[in-house]
Symmetry: C2
Subunit: 148 residues, 2 copies
Amino acid sequence: MRELRVTPIKNGTVIDHIPAGMALKVLKILGIGDAVSSTVTVAMHVPSRLMGWKDIVKVEDRELGSREIALVAPTASVNVIRNYNVAEKHRVALPDRAVGILKCGNPNCISNAREPVESEFVVRSKSPLRVFCKFCDRELEDIPAHIV
Amino acid sequence: MRELRVTPIKNGTVIDHIPAGMALKVLKILGIGDAVSSTVTVAMHVPSRLMGWKDIVKVEDRELGSREIALVAPTASVNVIRNYNVAEKHRVALPDRAVGILKCGNPNCISNAREPVESEFVVRSKSPLRVFCKFCDRELEDIPAHIV
């Protein structure tokens, strides 16, 4: 029997098949930090038949559907759990735009100046993933490293 | 029956009774980030009979004994697990000094200049916890916020 690292939850959201090493980035995108008020379980570097290694994030009592997760975890699946049953299951789908969650790599970009400008990136290609700053048009390299 | 959020591990270290909200800081102190190569499970904001809410960190196949954990999680207990048994159990104990893991809050401190100086703090009081920079002697306020 394959050993489960994390037990089932009664209600909430399970984000599975996150690429190994990306769980903490997913938490960041979801806004989950030190002040979290739901129970959150994170498993990192777990053996996976499909992926070799994967990460898993479980958030109890919250139904999440953040599409931005796809920016760092395009392989992820999101399962909404109700009363121990999978009520909804979907793959994450890339958004067309990412607003306020990535930081432009161009130090001279207006979004990096002390202006009240929210960062915004346009997804121009989904595979391979290529995103461009709406303001300076520079392509963002290494997306996971640029999460706000 | 109390529900377990995380299953037992065969070998490794379980850090239990971490104050709720401090698990990600504990990971940071342990140097566990995106590139982790052991399986790591983190449970945040878990109900605790003793503490109300707590966090738990489990690291498989590594025996950890970092005393610096006490700087952010003085209530934590560290359990070394071998073949599903608790082989060693100890409370974390505050170190006398913390080298290289905290950043001085004084912007003019030499440890914040571009000098090859490793930060160092002296623990002058354990309860309440008070630590002072070895270089500029300033007391560090809000220790968890100043982890490198």
